[in-house]
Symmetry: C2
Subunit: 384 residues, 2 copies
């Protein structure tokens, strides 16, 4: 794959020095249409001129990779037909949930199921605002904070009123449920109006509040809404924090499948765009395979917890601490639950990051001690 | 796509009456090799004769779809090369995490990232045992329960000692990290030895215990292990329950992406197999699109919570209950937090499942009432 052109209105403002000198920078989309480029990546957003450019590219037999949710939600079916007619491809993995591979997952991994339901957190801005409020922020403060961090526009309507999420829901419903929806058919409710007190009551109901985009096929009829909902803390959707995106796909045979990750931002969007480009280049076939064996180790540097059951007697902690220190392992904390007998007393020592082999050597020091009532059990602690 | 043959040793035992009469039932794999079938689906498992049959099918130019994690972990690279040589395809989405599209997600959606880390709950049996123990079961009881439900074999070593998860980790590391690992190179630790007391201490550390399969690329070196770990409750991996599978993929650009769902069982495995078959049939290109517009509704039947802020006076609850009853909406509960003033008193009414329009009509009854200090806020409650 080779980058040939960068096109933008007033492209000189965008010029960077880290792309190859062979790349042509141009204001003129016609130059790209005339070129021998096979693929056009459209990342200007909005309907105009993006829609025109995508159509012209497809008509010229060039495949298109885009992250334009608005265009794909509104005209995606027509554009897919145009692509087929001209033997080109149209891929838009970046249009929904950015770096979270929901669209490839639906297209390739769940296409064998009958999907009946999608519930998603599709707008990172709303999720940021609502999870800030869950942590105690007032509504206005959470919005200002989202604006200050660049997550929300000066006019946040597209996000908070649900239009952005709605476009993404239309695209997911099309792929997963084969449903042809118009965005304006889906009822949207704003998250404006949610107050701090609503989170207090949500807590009493063992819930939190999230902007949820839902579509469900029931008795042959489709239901779809976007808006704030109370979400039980037992639902994976309640676990989403900050700008995270999450999509729950319910299938007749496979049950519920959850995808989550970073939905927006330059890097996750780039992952989706580059993945689509690689898929195009490989014609959908498999990726490259390793040709040389890889060396493998098992020596993560990790915190550990060590559970010991002892016949209690003086000096045990000193012996343990000495054995650990001999292998440069630092004790982090010692826990002992009440209510056990002296002759069969469990307690736990946690240690700072060390290798498994150092820990093995340290534990070997007291493996045969008379005060040990049971073999010790050590567990690595996964970093949060 | 048309099913042409079913092959099994002693196939007569397997015969069912719901497949087309044209399907040939045979004990003889040679009959399939001689046929004009394009694809062989291998679901017998194990290395022998599955490995021989997969090789013979690929050598005959037939593509193979398989769920055989043991075979793919051990000989996958050789088999992929064989497939390429004979212009056939080899797909094995069912080999890891069954109905959770981790392999398609990695191949198509995350191929544009540089994956540096995978952490997964890849064995549903271990997860069932450990989440039963988290809920208070003793180790022996949890294992017996898993065996009674058919989740664990009479000899559970393959699951509890980590060999099953290790084969899956080898496959994921190959696809995501382009790492050529041998299963026997990965250190495995059994979950045997985890006792109820370990969950008590895990709780004190704000953790739970799960069998975690990890592979990480750090400074050009690969680290890989399978075994029980303490998992902080803040980690998505702590939220997996029962036989659920979960895979966290860490990328340099896209950050952490999480996939979860039902890893095993006939139906989720079938979803993965059928999805691979459809991918083969479409040559990896896009799925069918809807051709007729779909009718859409927004009327889910849902529980709702209604937050009201009132100037407290007698008869308010009666008025609200009356308005709701008029629209056949049943009150589920009324909550009122202490510490608010009579003239600006918030409280919440939850109602049993009703449509949004019925609720709108009911709320309109008291929208203009003098006792209402603020407009009411109603939220649907997502079903757990």
């Amino acid at each position: 794959m080779e980058l040939t052109h960068v096109c933008n209105r007033g492209v000189e403002r965008k010029r960077v020095d880290w792309v190859p000198a062979s790349v042509q920078w141009t204001n003129d989309f016609e130059a790209i249409l005339r070129s021998d480029a096979n693929v056009v990546v459209e990342l200007i957003g909005g309907l105009d001129p993006a829609g025109l450019w995508v159509r012209r590219a497809l008509e010229a037999g060039k495949s298109v990779v885009t992250g334009n949710k608005k265009l794909i939600a509104q005209d995606g079916i027509e554009l897919e037909q145009l692509a087929r007619k001209h033997k080109a491809h149209l891929l838009y993995g970046a249009a929904v949930a950015g770096g979270v591979p929901v669209i490839p997952g639906l297209r390739h991994g769940l296409v064998g199921d009958q999907i009946t339901r999608i519930e998603g957190i599709l707008n990172g801005t709303c999720n940021y605002i609502l999870s800030r409020m869950e942590d105690g922020a007032q509504a206005a403060e959470a919005l200002q904070d989202a604006q200050a961090r660049g997550y929300a526009e000066a006019n946040p309507s597209e996000d908070v009123d649900g239009f952005d999420a709605r476009a993404k829901l239309v695209i997911l419903a099309r792929i997963a449920l084969r449903a042809d929806l118009r965005p304006e058919e889906i009822a949207c409710r704003s998250i404006t109006g949610i107050a701090a007190i609503d989170f207090e009551y949500a807590r009493e109901l063992n819930c939190t509040i999230r902007q949820i985009s839902r579509v469900e096929l029931r008795d042959g009829k489709l239901f779809a809404t976007v808006g704030p909902m109370l979400v039980p803390r037992t639902s994976p959707l309640a676990w989403s924090r900050g700008t995270e995106n999450m999509v729950l796909v319910g299938g007749k045979y496979g049950g519920d499948v959850v995808f989550s990750g970073h939905g927006a931002g330059g890097h996750p969007t780039a992952v989706a765009v580059v993945s689509d480009l690689i898929s195009l280049a490989h014609g959908g076939s498999s990726i490259g395979l390793p040709s040389t064996p890889t060396q493998v180790g098992g020596e993560f540097l990790l915190r550990h917890s060590i559970r010991l059951v002892v016949h209690d007697c003086p000096g045990i902690i000193a012996e343990i601490a000495g054995a650990l220190a001999e292998h440069q392992i630092n004790i982090h904390a010692i826990f002992q639950r009440p209510g056990y007998q002296q002759e069969h007393l469990p307690f736990v020592v946690t240690v700072e990051p060390c290798t498994n082999s150092a820990l093995r050597h340290a534990l070997a020091h007291f493996a045969g001690k008379a005060w040990l009532a049971e073999p010790s059990l050590d567990l690595p602690i996964l970093e949060p």
